[in-house]
Symmetry: C2
Subunit: 343 residues, 2 copies
């Protein structure tokens, strides 16, 4: 079997910086029309100058121009003033503001501690038409964090009715009804939350390469996410949350959160959608919904996927001895991008 779809968008992507950026950016740039690039660097991307400079580094690392692979840049929410938001909005490729609750994930220590303090920034964003992307987790028990955060989404959606709010990487069944409740709430979903549950992470041997925040959840949660995505839910967009770490930061006594699946996203998604009789919904998930919701550019060519096997490398090597293990490292995938994925 072979399908052709519009070149896709990854609406939630971590590219990091330095050697890791140089390793990771080409994996996304090769097949995607563009990606929403997360700002949780050290220090975070929190002003116009940082946005401009980071976008340049991303494009240089991707080895392409912004027409071929469009980095949609995000600003780390730190209660910026309206003037600062306006300056950010002037930078090329500016897309949205990302809200991290302090401490929720990698490099989020400078995130929001008090939502009251963020009010003026959110009000200005609403007026300026800047979308808000949210890492929605409380500081509670790891499996309950998303569910505990849902009242915050409800509150934000009510208080800022013209603000487009995206619940990033939703991982629970409980998040889905909010998409019907509030016109201004949207969501991204990852490959790994569609594929895995806590059983895959910790039911047999412990699998640190499947460890991420939000953590993979119960089978009922995965089933609900699958049902929504495979039925073509119009408010759920694909966002990989692909998040590379060096192998030695994953296979150690205190492993960092993040699944690096940028290199295998398209074949793995095609296989998953095919298994579930949902190939006709893949194109909408991978870009159609985002184009409609955010007004992204018209399709820029096609990409072909075919059900022919390919072997995933055990790891990718970068500068200075950097090694990163992708999802499905060392295994065979039943689908591939027709032009070859790892050649």
């Amino acid at each position: 079997m072979r399908i052709e779809i519009d070149r896709p968008w990854d609406m939630h992507l971590h590219l990091r910086d330095g050697a890791m950026l140089n390793l990771a950016a080409p994996h996304s740039a090769r097949h995607f029309a563009g990606a929403v690039v997360m700002p949780n660097l050290v220090p975070p991307v929190a002003d116009a100058d940082a946005l401009r400079a980071y976008r340049s580094r991303v494009l240089r690392a991707a080895g392409t121009d912004a027409e071929t692979f469009t980095p949609l840049m995000t600003l780390f929410l730190k209660n910026q003033t309206r003037a600062e938001l306006e300056a950010a909005r002037e930078t090329p490729g500016f897309f949205a503001v990302k809200l991290y609750p302090a401490g929720a994930t990698t490099n989020s220590d400078g995130g929001v501690r008090d939502f009251g303090d963020a009010e003026p920034t959110l009000r200005a964003m609403e007026k300026l038409g800047i979308p808000l992307l949210v890492h929605g987790e409380s500081g509670g028990f790891v499996l309950d964090r998303e569910a505990e955060f849902l009242p915050v989404y409800r509150d934000l959606a009510r208080r800022f009715p013209k603000l487009k709010i995206c619940m990033e990487h939703i991982s629970t069944a409980a998040a889905l009804p909010l998409l019907d409740e509030f016109e201004n709430l949207f969501a991204t979903a990852t490959l790994h939350h569609l594929l895995f549950t806590l059983d895959d992470l910790a039911g047999g041997l412990l699998a640190p390469h499947l460890f991420c925040k939000p953590i993979v959840k119960r089978p009922e949660d995965r089933a609900a996410l699958r049902a929504a995505v495979f039925s073509g839910h119009p408010k759920i967009m694909f966002g990989s949350d692909s998040a590379p770490h060096p192998v030695e930061k994953k296979e150690c006594a205190g492993a960092a959160g993040g699944v690096y699946d940028a290199p295998v996203l398209l074949p793995a998604l095609a296989a998953l959608f095919a298994e579930n009789g949902a190939l006709d919904k893949l194109e909408g998930f991978l870009g159609g919904n985002a184009r409609r919701i955010y007004g992204l550019p018209a399709p820029r060519g096609k990409i072909a996927l075919e059900d022919a096997p390919q072997d995933v490398p055990a790891f990718f090597e970068g500068e200075n001895g950097l090694r990163v293990a992708p999802l499905f490292a060392g295994t065979r995938l039943p689908w591939r991008v027709a032009d070859g994925n790892f050649s």
Copy 2:
């Protein structure tokens, strides 16, 4: 502060074999009066000859005699005949039969697949007065496995009313009421299930050295276990489930389950019980209950614990480059055994 307690019993201990046995056995033998030694070797300890030979290896590795450190030997349940059970019972130090559902944990592939098949063995054990120790987990979702297994405990307790059945390493609040329901049901509890929840394993960085089966559970589960143990529940015995693996099997892409806490058990338990105002319940948990339930020998001397700090090594080294990281590796404990723990 300083307390003296009877030399304790560890009612659930993995000592492994070969170089690992040689490394681990002295850690338990140094301060414990004895331990129930698990039979999940490769191949499992499943007959009288294997029991005898393994006990000899344990004593040799411990570097002591059976009066100073008593290995209570267990037989891996493989539907043995009555004659085989009688032969096992004749071996020195024989204590109980251990039931593993197939695949539930390390080296359990040869365990029970069909409880109906085990009926004649269990009937014979009941007649011979041999206790049954059970790894009680279903094959379901990792957090539900113990709760899903509880009906099996109920069924066994009803069908074999004279069989002493021990729910090993209980990890959920749901297991506790069974102790009141059935006179012939008992339980062991570990240090790590009293200390940790899934938040410690996966709420921040992923901590493979806290990964075990049954997996650490929700805060409510830990709270219920703590309440039962700190109130001096007469049917709950300490069983560490200390289970060493080489560092490279814990810090890797597929980490083995097992917490190695034998070297730090007594100081860590003393600190935990002290923090919770339960030091007066420590001696019963560490041996009094087991003596009453199983008729273990009278106390054999005392051991002193004091609230003076000690540093835990990053790892212990054995033969052939073997390295094992203990719980609390590289940190400072607020209590110690008065004769020194790691000197």
